[in-house]
């Protein structure tokens, strides 16, 4: 993707790097948190998705505060206080000709945005605070916790070790972890990071909350790992007329977790409506297999034999996954993750994988979950994978556990399940029901030859869409015919394939023709 040009605005002799994306009617100044680096943001799919979605309805103006990212370096003893940062925002707004802008303050960007809105109401169209706070010590870290944070930063700034305290859900995502470490290194030097953190720790803008007179939206994730949920609620209570939106999730950075829900809330607040997210998210089924008790088996077999068997298992897993129309998306020494287009195929692959591993004397615990994944991301990171990993962690040796949604999607496939209660997983709206796959009863015929897909599983709308697929129409044409957005049509098609357990659009067309839909 081509990234926007970085330009510089002069603020009191210091050059502030900024970028402008989009030409929507509303000016939206994105005020970043602790650290930032304009050009590095585009390398992170979540960050670029956030900026692209915002720039569909706004002219998004983002910048690196002085001393960070691509802006001029400053003496670490003279890092910008909130007022200097406000001046920098005004300088950038002047450079881009923005008379008044909505401010989006994320995390540490929130107190600065609050101060800006209270100080320059005539230049503030609206205020949006995400994961924000008014006072650091009560909302983020106590004095002792902060001392600990500084100690850790002194030892490990630039390694990405801080990720666990910002986005625990992404700690096991190797791509994101590596990006986070670069994000630390390319945003500020270690000394500046500590000085900046010390200055942020003194932030307290509680006294100005009552003075805000611009329309305000406060968004906070319920289990935010970095800034307490109560801090967001406090902002909404103290800012006159503020609207409060709470979202599920625990990852703190605004470009992680369910970004679309955050953007939907912002767009609806600023424009009175929200458009569907660009259709690059699809439903997929994720399988995560972990070795149960690897240390016991390794001790029994000896290191060398164990390593050979694991290598063999990985090879077999690749074959089984491919045979079921899936793709291995990650394999570590003790886990294998794969992605499938259909839930029934994923569960059948899990059964085959369990059988294969048992023959090698290796016990697997397998979790299967269906959820939305990002099409553009080569690795299916994000919430759906996290849920599958959690389910795999709860599965016993030799067990295949699936989420309730998988059970619902494989109805009619001949698979049998036993209820296993429910578990709470951060980021999900409610408890996730769990079910164990029950062994097939001695090769029942219907398990051997899958039943003909059942049309009754489809809604009326899905049947209409299926009929048009059979007529050879593309998604855009179907969208036009049914007066739906293309995004909605894609969702219908994904659901149709899942419900009918068909691998492709062509197979759905053939099926529809056969059944004269």
């Amino acid at each position: 993707m081509q990234t926007p040009h970085t330009r510089y605005a002069l603020s009191g002799g210091v050059r502030i790097a900024y970028q402008v994306t989009g030409q929507g009617p509303i000016d939206l100044v994105f005020v970043p948190g602790f650290i930032s680096n304009l050009e590095l943001h585009w390398e992170e799919p979540g960050y670029s998705h956030l900026l692209r979605r915002l720039s569909a309805f706004a002219r998004v103006i983002h910048f690196d505060k002085r001393g960070t990212g691509l802006s001029d370096r400053v003496d670490v003893q003279h890092l910008p206080d909130l007022e200097t940062r406000m001046d920098d925002v005004r300088a950038v707004m002047d450079a881009v000709g923005s008379g008044r802008a909505a401010l989006l303050g994320a995390s540490e960007g929130a107190p600065m945005s609050i101060l800006f809105a209270a100080t320059y109401p005539e230049r503030t169209r609206a205020l949006v605070l995400y994961g924000g706070y008014a006072q650091f010590h009560s909302a983020v870290l106590s004095a002792e916790q902060f001392a600990d944070f500084v100690r850790k930063a002194e030892q490990s700034w630039g390694t990405g070790a801080s990720l666990a305290s910002f986005a625990p859900g992404l700690v096991h995502d190797p791509r994101f972890s590596a990006w986070w470490a670069r994000f630390e290194r390319l945003s500020v030097s270690p000394t500046a990071a500590i000085a900046l953190a010390r200055m942020n720790a003194t932030i307290d803008v509680r006294g100005v909350l009552g003075a805000i007179r611009v329309p305000t939206l406060v968004i906070h994730r319920r289990e935010d790992a970095r800034v307490k949920f109560a801090a967001g609620r406090f902002l909404a209570e103290r800012i006159p007329g503020a609207r409060f939106v709470e979202l599920p999730g625990r990852d703190h950075p605004i470009w992680t977790g369910d970004i679309d829900r955050v953007v939907d809330a912002i767009e609806e607040f600023l424009t009175g409506t929200h458009s569907a997210a660009a259709s690059d998210r699809v439903l997929a089924t994720l399988l995560v297999a972990r070795l149960a008790h690897p240390e016991r088996a390794a001790a029994r077999l000896g290191d060398r034999l164990w390593a050979e068997r694991i290598a063999h298992l990985h090879g077999r897993a690749d074959e089984i996954t491919a045979r079921h129309g899936g793709r291995v998306i990650g394999s570590g020494s003790e886990t294998i993750a794969a992605r499938f287009d259909g839930s029934a195929r994923a569960v059948h692959a899990a059964v085959a994988l369990r059988h294969e591993s048992a023959a090698l004397g290796i016990a697997l615990a397998i979790g299967v979950h269906a959820g939305e994944v990002d099409l553009r991301s080569t690795q299916a990171a994000g919430l759906a994978l996290h849920v599958a990993e959690r389910i795999a962690a709860l599965a016993g040796a030799g067990e295949i556990l699936v989420s309730g949604v998988v059970r619902d999607l494989v109805a009619g496939s001949g698979l049998h399940f036993k209820e296993r209660g429910a578990t709470t997983i951060g980021g999900m709206d409610g408890p996730v029901p769990l079910l164990a796959v029950v062994a097939e009863q001695h090769l029942e015929p219907r398990a051997r030859s899958p039943a003909e897909p059942d049309l009754a599983a489809l809604s009326g709308r899905e049947r209409e869409v299926l009929g048009l697929i059979a007529d050879g129409l593309g998604n855009a044409a179907i969208a036009a015919r049914l007066a739906l957005s293309e995004h909605t049509v894609k969702r219908h098609v994904a659901n149709i394939l899942l419900k009918l357990d068909l691998p492709t659009r062509a197979a759905a067309a053939a099926f529809a023709a056969r059944r004269r839909v």
Binding site: Q2, P4, H5, R7, A9, V20, T21, G22, Q23, G24, P25, I26, D27, R52, S55, A56, F57, D94, A95, V96, G97, S98, G99, R100, R125, G272, S275, A276, A476, A479, A480, S485, E486, H487
Partner: protein
């Protein structure tokens, strides 16, 4: 209000845009007018739509709050349709160029379609 509506014409459009006169521009629209915007972030199959007087007012208030130098170089009128080009420059030099078509009904704008591109 006893204001006389200005007729929608090439010169009137040029004057309102170049003077960043939001009030004048809002007065050109009919009550149920729609603005459709097509650009790189809002592709033709999903154009951004701004419908009705209140939303159109907010749209022009936002646009005119920007310090942009506008130039309307070409206006073409044909019956109930009017087209014009818009050449805009921000203080930092970034440019936007757009072409708009206005479809009139009863002398007011019923539909305003704009396609634009910009430096990014």
């Amino acid at each position: 209000m006893a204001t006389t509506l200005t007729a929608v014409s090439g010169p009137a459009i040029k004057r309102a845009i170049e003077a960043r006169d939001a009030e004048a521009f809002i007065g050109f629209y009919g009550d149920d007018a729609t603005i459709r915007v097509v650009d790189r972030n809002n592709p033709p199959s999903r154009p951004r739509e701004v419908k009705g007087r209140a939303a159109i007012r907010a749209f022009w208030d936002d646009m005119c709050s920007r310090n942009i130098a506008h130039r309307v170089d070409v206006t073409i009128a044909e019956g109930d349709r009017l087209a014009f080009t818009q050449d805009c420059t921000y203080p930092d030099g970034a440019k936007v160029f757009g072409i708009a078509v206005l479809e009139l009904a009863g002398g007011r704008i019923a539909r305003h379609t704009v396609v634009h591109a910009w430096d990014e």
